[in-house]
């Protein structure tokens, strides 16, 4: 119920600024709409592949209103082998308020909701140490909601997100401990994880730092560092880094990024692919092309 209200609020905020008001040529625009379509060799979120290391596409619609309100909707293709039983799509809705000087200090506050329609997994959330069996199988979706704070100075941008939903991308006892038990040869870590009881990941913190440095007129150097602190599951904490170049040519933005992660438990980033476990957190070169409309 609360989640539905959250999604409706986000959609309402988006619609309120998307619906255009008539603007005569001599009037100043009161809103701006940017639509970006992007194809890339891999869809990486915080350094981890959401497309099972395969190619994917993303469409982003951003609307800014002169009041400072900003709304964003993003649709991304994702792997059904990672987001089980899903439609193969990730949806991000966000809304917030931005203010400040882009050449100096600037800030943003907002709410965001990430959804993977239909996607869910079943996993046991308890381990009965008397009978040595897994119990309490439950379904969990991968949806998350966040409160977001942005702080920037010039081209340096920092972002902090706090997870408001019960789980961050399905991280709960069944998701984390179950995966450790499934993929680790030594069951000790998985059992220790279960022994801590039934937990969720509400309150997780996500940190991002980005810097863009122009190299001439049409080329930009991009640097990124991120850290994910997963509440109640320190074994799931990880960092991600990337360095990339973006070049505008023929109206398209061409990009190449080297993405790397530093995970504590790489088992948590394995996905079953036709009987094989495939890592989704390996270092990767990501090539992309995008166009803004």
């Amino acid at each position: 119920m609360r989640t539905t209200f959250f999604h409706c609020s986000m959609a309402g905020l988006l619609l309120s600024v998307v619906i255009p008001s008539p603007v005569r040529a001599d009037e100043m625009a009161s809103y701006a709409v940017d639509i970006t379509a992007r194809a890339s060799s891999d869809i990486r979120t915080r350094g981890v592949s959401d497309s099972l290391n395969g190619p994917g596409a993303k469409v982003t619609i951003q609307v800014a209103h002169e009041s400072g309100l900003v709304a964003l909707a993003e649709f991304t293709t994702v792997s059904k082998k990672q987001f089980l039983d899903g439609d193969g799509v990730g949806v991000l809705l966000a809304g917030g308020y931005r203010f400040g000087d882009p050449e100096a200090w600037h800030f943003g506050l907002g709410l965001a909701s990430e959804m993977f329609p239909g996607a869910q997994f079943k996993a046991p959330n308890k381990f009965d140490f008397d009978t040595f069996t897994l119990t309490d199988e439950r379904s969990t979706n991968y949806n998350s909601q966040f409160a977001v704070l942005e702080v920037g100075y010039g081209a340096l941008e920092g972002r902090i997100a706090r997870v408001l939903s019960k789980t961050y991308r399905g991280a709960n006892t069944g998701g984390v401990c179950g995966t450790l038990l499934q993929f680790r040869e030594d069951p000790t870590k998985g059992l220790e994880c279960y022994a801590k009881g039934d937990r969720d990941s509400r309150g997780s913190m996500l940190y991002d730092l980005d810097y863009k440095y122009p190299l001439g007129m049409n080329t930009t150097l991009k640097l990124h560092a991120g850290y994910q602190q997963i509440a109640n599951f320190s074994e799931a904490n990880f960092a991600d880094y990337s360095v990339g170049l973006a070049h505008r040519w023929w109206g398209f933005d061409w990009g190449v990024d080297f993405v790397t992660t530093k995970t504590r438990a790489s088992e948590l980033y394995l996905a079953e692919d036709d009987g094989h476990a495939r890592a989704t957190d390996d270092d990767s070169w990501v090539f992309s092309v995008s166009r803004q409309f």
Partner: protein
Amino acid sequence: MNARQMLLFSLFMVCSAQSFAAAGPLEAKGLWLTAEKDAVVRLDDCATKAGAICGQVVWVKDVASISSDCGVQIMQLDRYDKDAWRDGWVYDPRDHKKYKGIVRIKDGYLNVRAFVGTEILGKTEQFERVETLPPTPVCKL
């Protein structure tokens, strides 16, 4: 000084030089080629407003758009303050909308920022200085 210190020192000097190379109000005047290299804009004193600068399309690459784009005034900035031309508007011929505008010279390029409300809600287009107009096609102004 080892190689790493030398590299850091060089980077600092490059960044410092770029940061302190402030341009004056006259620096923006002249001919500027778009990033797509499909149009040239001339920035000069406004004929209609004293103390302001105006930007007018004086060359377009696409012959078919000569009649529609040549001579179009795409910006007017009323005052120069804190290393930027401010208090004006920028017209985007692609969506036929006027936005608030601010124009700066940065690293030798003309940075034209169009925005709604406050400057943070905008996009920056870069222009490159050119000394002369390409020979063809010719805008009849």
